[in-house]
């Protein structure tokens, strides 16, 4: 459980840094808040950058763009996917 919490916090920090979400702090992102659309307002280029982040930080290669929509639903869904698939 603690491990999951740490991963969620880590993800929030790296998303803010990687996607230049200036003026946002990890505390501003809810674990179950939608990352795209009405939630955090990320767009298709951000999704591509998150794919790079998965590969760079967790050794996970995503090749099916349709799959990414589900995984990047929220911090929770990203963290679950990473826990199940990480190689590093």
């Amino acid at each position: 459980m603690l491990k999951m919490k740490n991963l969620q916090a880590e993800l929030k920090e790296s998303i803010i840094e990687q996607l230049n979400l200036e003026d946002m702090k990890p505390g501003d992102i809810e674990n179950d808040e939608p990352l795209f659309g009405d939630g955090l307002g990320l767009d298709s280029i951000d999704a591509l950058e998150l794919i790079v982040l998965l590969e760079k930080d967790y050794g996970i290669k995503l090749t099916d763009p349709a799959q990414s929509r589900e995984i990047f639903g929220s911090i929770n869904s990203m963290a679950e996917f990473i826990e199940a698939n990480r190689t590093q």
Partner: protein, 379 residues
């Protein structure tokens, strides 16, 4: 506004080193796309249209020192040389040189060879071309993503319209560099197979390299059977910098404005040369814009299956092929098309056929939300 006449042209591509060879390859349904392996750049193999450097050097050695010029410069110089050789009375003091490219010599970032660093600059590339032949005017360089080549022709017409230009040589070119391969790969936009514009099973672009040149003039040639640009427009989507508009708004508006300027209606267009990159979203966007423009019954093709996406050169090459399509009254098939895979119906040319063509429309779209429409007329 004045018309702009398309006089002479040359295409240097994997399909051949002249317009004639290129048209012949298209007539025969041959593609320049081949499987490429670049494991140091991307893990998966991909299709691209690449010019064999030894063939290029063999052709270039007749006009210049192969060591003094970059690959792209040699391609562009060859294209211009062909036109100047056939138009010996062209006054280079008064002929504008318009160069369209997205990335120019970008391959020098990775592998500069013996070239100075400023050779990366597009203005240097322009100067190299101008100096080689002795063009007196400072080259005009258009770098506006994937509409650059077509915009170059529009720029000639627009400057011609206010009397600043009479003759111009419009040159377009781009390379399949590691830079663009990595970039489009990071966009997950590269197709593993040769690209399939407008098809159900399309899955991204194939890149291509080419250089091309077109001589244009505001003066009507004395001979008959000429193709003229009679309407042109660009409109930005104002929607997203990389994703095409879902409604095709900018492309739709470009088409409307170009038709209005040409004073013709959509049903007079006999042939439509689409952009058709074969990404899911681009082709879908085009189908929306064409449908909204009542062009769903107009025969159309995408040439990306022959050339791949040649970026800044593409809309210029496709305008040249459009010109010959009109002069030959011959529609060329949209290579690699299978089953229609866009939500609005379109009339994709599946086999070469003869048809009287008097008006044609060329469209293009690109990153930054840009869109272009050109209307050509046979006179």
């Amino acid at each position: 506004m004045k018309k702009l006449y398309l006089l002479d042209d040359a295409i240097i591509s994997p399909l051949g080193f002249s317009t004639k060879e290129n048209i012949k390859a298209i007539q025969e349904g041959r593609s320049g796309l081949q499987l490429q392996q670049k494991p140091e750049t991307i893990e998966t193999s991909f299709y691209a249209g690449v010019i064999e450097e030894s063939l290029l050097n063999a052709a270039f050695v007749g006009i210049g020192d192969i060591k003094k010029y970059t690959k792209l410069e040699k391609m562009m110089l060859l294209a211009v040389q062909q036109i100047l050789a056939k138009n010996k009375d062209l006054d280079l003091n008064e002929t504008a040189l318009i160069i369209a490219t997205t990335k120019g010599n970008i391959n020098l970032l990775k592998d500069p060879g013996n070239f100075p660093e400023n050779r990366l600059k597009l203005s240097e590339l322009g100067q190299v071309i101008a100096n080689f032949f002795g063009f007196a005017q400072t080259p005009i360089i258009v770098s506006n993503a994937c509409i650059s080549g077509g915009l170059g022709i529009a720029v000639a017409r627009r400057l011609g319209g206010i009397g600043k230009i009479k003759n111009a040589l419009v040159v377009g070119g781009d390379l399949v560099s590691d830079f663009v391969v990595s970039g489009f790969n990071s966009f997950q936009a590269l197709s593993q197979e040769a690209c399939k514009p407008f098809s159900k099973d399309r899955n991204g672009i194939s890149l291509g390299e080419a250089a091309t040149a077109m001589l244009v003039s505001t003066d009507k040639p004395e001979s008959s059977g000429n193709i003229a640009l009679i309407g042109d427009a660009t409109v930005n989507d104002a929607n997203h910098i990389s994703g095409p508009s879902r409604t095709g708004e900018g492309l739709y508006q470009s088409i409307q404005k170009a038709l209005k300027e040409a004073k013709i209606s959509a049903n007079e267009i006999d042939f439509l040369s689409a952009h058709g990159t074969a990404t899911i979203y681009n082709d879908e966007m085009e189908s929306m814009a064409f449908h909204r423009s009542s062009l769903q019954n107009t025969p159309l093709n995408s040439l990306k299956g022959y050339y791949g996406h040649t970026l800044g050169a593409s809309a210029l090459i496709e305008s040249i092929i459009t010109k010959h399509t009109m002069l030959n009254n011959e529609l060329y098939s949209s290579k690699n098309f299978g089953e229609l895979g866009v939500s609005k119906s379109l009339t994709i040319i599946q086999e070469n056929q003869n048809m009287e063509i008097n008006y044609a429309l060329k469209t293009a779209s690109g990153f930054g939300g840009c869109n272009l429409a050109l209307v050509f007329k046979k006179e």
